[in-house]
């Protein structure tokens, strides 16, 4: 499982717009680089990111090779109810990396 770093508030007021930051350790190999002996290094990136809140999608992204290594995303969500924020990063291979964090809304 890849290393991930999530930053989200543990508590928020109902209706408050909160900022979430998500980072994952990944080289985001572009498929444009030449390796040894002139062979191309095959593309291997995270191409999809989805954030769900209480099971509902609240933010998502399609990523291309021009996104930096160790992709960093910061976005907003409206705090509505206490629950789980879940983050899923999908590799070119189909492999999915998941992280979760809880939030208490009052």
């Amino acid at each position: 499982m890849a290393r991930t770093l999530i930053h989200a508030p543990k508590a928020a007021r109902a209706g408050e717009i909160i900022e979430i930051r998500a980072m994952i350790a990944h080289p985001m190999e572009t498929g444009q680089r030449m390796g040894v002996n002139g062979t191309m290094i095959p593309r291997a990136i995270i191409n999809r990111f989805v954030c769900t809140y209480g099971g509902e999608v609240v933010f998502s992204a399609d990523l291309h090779p021009a996104v930096s290594a160790n992709p960093f995303l910061s976005f907003c969500v409206v705090a509505t109810q206490s629950g789980v924020l879940a983050f899923a990063w999908t590799e070119d291979t189909g492999e999915v990396h998941v992280a979760t964090t809880d939030i208490t809304v009052t």
């Binding site: 717009i17 444009q32 021009a66």
Partner: protein
């Protein structure tokens, strides 16, 4: 460093302004077929208007491997009027697409930050798709310098 002569600050600013004008016009005037095609794929060929989209990216960056940017779109993000998607595109990387972000009823605010790769000095374009089917965009010129003493010389 070597590409700088053609990109004096005045030219870059002029280029950015020119792009703003271009964005308000049909897309055929844009710099490169790839960029043009990528934006058209995003808009479905609809008109692209200038405004509402704020693209915060440094005009001069010291390494193109991780260029921070923030896109913020003027929108109340209400059910009847919200941002559906934001697309980021570039002019001179091998591929014109950078990222496409989707927003939902609970997104709250149409703002996103990330870090992108820029192979060389070029224009970066952000386009927002609104719930009423209109598209709004902005272009920014970025000068990319190189780090000193790199590997694999």
């Amino acid at each position: 460093m070597v590409e700088i002569p053609a990109l004096r600050r005045r030219d870059v600013l002029a280029g950015a302004v020119a792009h703003l004008v271009v964005l308000a016009l049909p897309l055929r005037a844009m710099a490169r077929p790839d960029l043009q095609a990528a934006v058209r794929l995003f808009t479905g060929g609809a008109d692209l208007r200038e405004g509402r989209v704020h693209l915060d990216i440094a005009p001069l960056v010291e390494n193109g491997n991780a260029v921070p940017l923030t896109v913020d779109v003027d929108s109340a993000m209400r059910p009847e009027d919200h941002v559906r998607r934001i697309g980021i595109f570039n002019e001179k990387n091998p591929l014109a697409d950078v990222a496409i972000f989707q927003f939902y009823p609970k997104s709250g605010r149409a703002r996103v930050s990330t870090r992108i790769r820029l192979a060389t000095s070029q224009q970066v374009v952000a386009v927002a798709e609104m719930s009423d089917g209109t598209y709004w965009g902005v272009a920014r010129g970025v000068v990319v310098t190189l780090a000193a003493c790199i590997e694999g010389l």
